[in-house]
Symmetry: C5
Subunit: 259 residues, 5 copies
Amino acid sequence: MDIASFIGVFGGLSIVFFGAFMGGSFGGLIHLPSMLITGGGSFLCLFLTYPLSYVIGLFKVISKVFRTADFKEKETVQKLVALSEKSRRTGLLALEEEIQDFEDDFLRTGLRNVIDGIDGAQIRISMENELNQMEARHNTWISVVNAWATLAPGFGMLGTVMGLIGMLLNLEDKSSLGPNMSTALVTTFYGSLMQNWLLVPISSKLMYQNALEVKSKEMIIEGILGIQSGDHPRILAQRLLTYLNPVDRKELEAELIRE
Amino acid sequence: MDIASFIGVFGGLSIVFFGAFMGGSFGGLIHLPSMLITGGGSFLCLFLTYPLSYVIGLFKVISKVFRTADFKEKETVQKLVALSEKSRRTGLLALEEEIQDFEDDFLRTGLRNVIDGIDGAQIRISMENELNQMEARHNTWISVVNAWATLAPGFGMLGTVMGLIGMLLNLEDKSSLGPNMSTALVTTFYGSLMQNWLLVPISSKLMYQNALEVKSKEMIIEGILGIQSGDHPRILAQRLLTYLNPVDRKELEAELIRE
Amino acid sequence: MDIASFIGVFGGLSIVFFGAFMGGSFGGLIHLPSMLITGGGSFLCLFLTYPLSYVIGLFKVISKVFRTADFKEKETVQKLVALSEKSRRTGLLALEEEIQDFEDDFLRTGLRNVIDGIDGAQIRISMENELNQMEARHNTWISVVNAWATLAPGFGMLGTVMGLIGMLLNLEDKSSLGPNMSTALVTTFYGSLMQNWLLVPISSKLMYQNALEVKSKEMIIEGILGIQSGDHPRILAQRLLTYLNPVDRKELEAELIRE
Amino acid sequence: MDIASFIGVFGGLSIVFFGAFMGGSFGGLIHLPSMLITGGGSFLCLFLTYPLSYVIGLFKVISKVFRTADFKEKETVQKLVALSEKSRRTGLLALEEEIQDFEDDFLRTGLRNVIDGIDGAQIRISMENELNQMEARHNTWISVVNAWATLAPGFGMLGTVMGLIGMLLNLEDKSSLGPNMSTALVTTFYGSLMQNWLLVPISSKLMYQNALEVKSKEMIIEGILGIQSGDHPRILAQRLLTYLNPVDRKELEAELIRE
Amino acid sequence: MDIASFIGVFGGLSIVFFGAFMGGSFGGLIHLPSMLITGGGSFLCLFLTYPLSYVIGLFKVISKVFRTADFKEKETVQKLVALSEKSRRTGLLALEEEIQDFEDDFLRTGLRNVIDGIDGAQIRISMENELNQMEARHNTWISVVNAWATLAPGFGMLGTVMGLIGMLLNLEDKSSLGPNMSTALVTTFYGSLMQNWLLVPISSKLMYQNALEVKSKEMIIEGILGIQSGDHPRILAQRLLTYLNPVDRKELEAELIRE
């Protein structure tokens, strides 16, 4: 569970409550029709923007920002270096039994190809291809969120203009002027809130998680090709360690290189 | 028929009706001259922006977002792997009769070149050239839609400024102030509506359909060159499967690889 | 003559007249000092932005959008394929007499280099160099138009702020308030009109014409190098046809390939 | 200590004080709840945008802009040229004792790999990999600052809209209108101040420092590979000097080349 | 002296004077405290954005836009072709005496390396390295101007919000309302004026001058390597001429190629 995401969501919400309380606008900020116009309108427009499956699956993807993204780079480096040592001692075929219970499909398929004696250039093409396809899928999802983040304030503005037009057509009744204009502004508020508080941050975190996953997969490709070409485990470890964050790196350096 | 696009168009429209009903601005939002200024003005400016044929053909291109984009990647992979198996058993020339009734021009021309014994690098250049030209044509169309999406709110703003100037010149008549300003705002409303509800989503969907088509054609190029260089059908299948979405992929993996 | 450009310019203008007529702002929209501030101010700033020769030559470049851009790709393909056939039958030197009356400098110089027996890689470098320089010149012109398109609304806004300041200093005279504010808004109107109605569309069309010219020159380079390396005319035709639009392509395919 | 950063921070602050004093808005600009909404709200949203560790470590990274970024390029060039001379006279192994007390990890590890006789291409890959990872880490930090710079005015605008809504709901009390609207505007002020005075400049300076560090590391890679391939020290010096700023370069040129 | 730049600066200024005179806002536009807030505040923030030396040297760089950028490409082509002819007749060493009095460091150093018999690939790397470093320095200066161009309207807006807050706190005094609000708007005016009239144009002209210098240096690299590899002077001339503008090119073509 990604605690930071919860802090962000509830922190932003409490700031809004606090601001509404301070500004005396509490009652005015809860307005269901305005929510429908801004949130519903911008969401419905996503159907014109992207295929059905992407819009329907959107909330499942968004829920990912509440899960900690952990791609176990540290364990993967340890595994890869261990496999490299074993393969140099007892040959590539000896890795067969090791990889049975690897959970990571990408790592296991790559290693099986190595054991099957497929050519290194071929393996690299195949694995990079898969990596690129994964990245393209992620980027499409992220662009759905971005599209929503752009549409939300657009519909907020639409709602406000509609409200202003309604208000201007009934200017005679001075007492309703304030409430009418306040209602008109609420859609701008919702649009801006959706964009700043939720959608832009969610899109950024999804991008960050994607970058992490891409990096971990690039590291796996380097590792597998290093094992195949029989690099010295110490050299391989040195190369793989550059993919880790500084903290993990220092730890593993002591263990894998300077032993 | 792409149901999502219809949901988007009619959903957005009903939200606007709903908002107009809630805000009491129903009558004020239907204003033919404002429609002409915003929609007509921005459309006429497209003639200065792009050649005649592109502006005239625009609505035909836009209608594509209501057709489901299906490039039959799954069937193509099955065909390509089957052809690969056949060519390894009975030679490239045996593919001649298979390709007679292929509907896809791109696939058929590529395969015919393979059968004719044209050099692989030559085939790749020729096919990628064609793919690039197709993508350039699509991108020009998309940029026409984008240009419209930028011009529409610009003309909306122009109309509003014109309306405000007219209103300010007749400030004495206080009773007409509200309706005049409301009329001025209607062009802003139309401009923003055209941009957010129609043109930006349409441009995005066209881009998405183009990306799908490019990917399916890239897969065909890979497949054809794999057949020519006599790759093992299983290796070829593995490479082609990376182009599919995860669902189709799982299905075909069972069929083509683990059989 | 590019009819579309005329439709764009006069269509946009008539929409503005129509809008001014509907909004009762006809008299207020014609204001010479505001035109000078917005149009003149932004144009004078171009002198600080670009060298003298570019600003002076700007209107000549802009006038190009009213000329149909026709780079005769179809005729060029026919010529190139014919030359390819002739050179295979009677040798490269026989092309000498053919190219005397070619109007296109780029094509003729390239072919002369082929006849003179200059190395293919050398020819490609030299021709691509020339193509890049042409594109760089075009892009500089386009960026001058873009700079103007950005400066115009900026000066419109400047004029409006100046007008508002003047108005606020004379708030006592209530009767002049409306006309003063209306005058202030006119510069915003001119800035937005220049940007949306003229400069952004002109920049787009110049970019489109440049893209066409670049594509036609790239096709010529491919053709000339194909002639030099003695490619089969049918293969060459197939490669060159990918540069044409679908309509011309279908026509020539019948003529050049399936004959 | 980077004096310029202090000048920037305190100079900007004093301008604001000066402006508040001139505009008579001194009292109105200090408003704790508005600070909380703008600063606190935008900061809390960073938690949704980035992982916990990045948000917590943000202030430590920001503090870097107050430290002078000095990567000692001049000394590094002198060291590298001296090592190059020594290695040509007495062999690569003689460098062993020289590098013991080098403080720069990147330089020392690279040189050790050279002494250990590891292949040049291998060393380049490993060092560039490390450089890329460092740059990616820096860019993530910079993008956190940029995210904040975008969120701050967004939350400022949110606060203003909330304030306006509150004000419009209480329009009857004319005397509170001014102060209420002034309070509403204060969040816009804070958001704009945070963006213009602090976050955008800080992001720029971090980017500048990163560019400097990347350049100095690229220079080290060139130097180490030059030493390994036994380039003439004068040639190596000439190449490395191109990485220095003009002042340092002139100085070292006299010393290293024209001696 | 670049006359265009003077036209731009004084033309823009006179337009502003003209506009102030027409709008009756002359007195209101001269407001020293507002100048300090907008110009001074945004300039001080540059200290936080860039290192001390860049901010201090900024005005010297800006003064360059008033000097005509002339890189003497025509003379350089003539020199290079002449050197090419001489070196083919009497050998590379004979160039020694020719280059003594060349003023251009870049050209002279490159030629000296050729005479010294340094390898062509080496020379290219060294010269391109120097070119890249020069471009990086120029781009940093340009980005300082751009940063200022972004900060100026930001501080203008800050000043206006501060002024509005001050005004709203003193709403009772109706007579001061106009002047107060006018003063608040003046900072917006200054910010927009600095951006549109000075900083964006200056940044563009610096970019243009940089592009010219890069192109002329690229031409020198091509020429020097052509001389080294002993290209025929006519071929070399043809290649170098593509770097010139069409006018100079026509002139030199007559002289160097068709003689």
